[in-house]
Symmetry: C2
Subunit: 208 residues, 2 copies
DNA sequence: AATTGTGAACCTCTTCACAGCT
DNA sequence: AGCTGTGAAGAGGTTCACAATT
């Protein structure tokens, strides 16, 4: 399989959601130009992104919203159910457990791990917090494929090492630092400070 | 001022944090190669990123951790205090209020806005939730420069329009869709679903 | 000897522009 | 006539490689 750029993949996610809204509005057909306008990109970009995976439109007519959404969903693997573990049940962790958007997209949090004795055994929603020291067993029992890491920066690398040793191949990291993972493991970072600092830069340096 | 790419700015944020940790470890001097290794980039990239803003190192010796961190902080505008409003005090909003990382970096949440009658007037930490219908007044009173938008997708564009009309020039958006802002306004998106879907794509399509 | 700062080469991603379908 | 799909051109970002400096 040809290497597809990260930006193409994240734009496909956007198109997917845009198509979802169009379908909810009973729109049956859409052009690359309309998708582009909604998502703030060019129409050539939309067509090029799709062209890496096949031909989904009809010349002269555009795309069927339902078909295109389905096709992008298949490309992204969104019709599978993904079992997710959340490591670190602090502020952010709590919010993520309650965040309904994930479950809608097939990402189900099935395991909560923490190393705080006071939290272990307590429940968040339906889920009991388990001890991180037993991570390998729990990860296997729940057939976890994706881990969300929301632990303090100073332990994040250790946590990620344990997870990859236990066979986790996909990680979403909320700790604000760069982490190393072995080949064959993908890690994505969610770092709000970086975005805020980009805003700070913008406000500081605009005009002139 | 020459246009600097978003990726350069976000790497500068990373270097800034990396330098912070090195300083905490009493490291006085660092080479571009060491920074690069920690942050998973090339040393040429580190030097090139810095070169857009000046010359901060000593040939043969490397960089003073303290000086370089200070200089990057100045570039990013991190020594200013930024007054931040949080719009939409739901799950994510709550987590953000409690998230200490922001305040450490000079981003202080000074205003909470919501349109839910049951929430208005209640407190989160020290802050009372105010009505979004009075946003312009509150934004001005608190001298808000940055707004974090954590409202449902279907009202996000309306909220952003009100904010920009009221003079807000920098927005961090958590709603999972693309929003339009006028020229001169910067909006950054924090969209966890996109990152998760990239992981889904990776798990679905790896190995041929 | 070590490491920076940077022009030039390289590579990747985006946009153009148009042939080809419907 | 309208819109897709795509090769080619263009723009932008990254890496190379080396002169300059400590």
């Amino acid at each position: 399989m040809k290497k597809i750029s990260d930006s193409t993949i994240s734009r496909l996610s956007k198109y997917y959601r845009t198509l979802g809204r169009l379908i909810a509005q009973k729109v049956k057909t859409v052009s690359s130009d309309e998708i582009a306008e909604i998502d703030g990109v060019t129409s050539a970009q939309v067509r090029k992104d799709l062209s890496f995976f096949g031909t989904f439109g009809k010349r002269g007519l555009g795309y069927s919203t339902a078909d295109l959404q389905h096709n992008i969903g298949k490309i992204l693997g969104l019709f599978k159910k993904w079992n997710v573990a959340l490591v670190g049940v602090g502020n952010i962790g709590h919010a993520l457990v309650d965040y309904q958007e994930f479950k809608k997209q097939g990402f189900e949090i099935k395991l909560l791990l923490d190393n705080d004795e006071n939290k272990i055994g307590t429940k968040v929603g339906d889920l009991e917090i388990k001890s991180f020291s037993d991570a390998p067993t729990h990860l296997e029992d729940e057939k976890i494929q994706i881990a969300i890491v929301a632990v303090p920066a100073n332990v994040a690398q250790k946590v990620v090492n344990s997870l990859t040793d236990a066979g986790v191949r996909a990680i979403l990291n909320f700790a604000p630092l760069s982490l190393k993972v072995p080949d064959g493991v993908m890690i994505k970072n969610e770092n709000m400070s970086i975005e805020l600092e980009a805003l700070s830069y913008f406000l500081t340096n605009r005009r002139k």
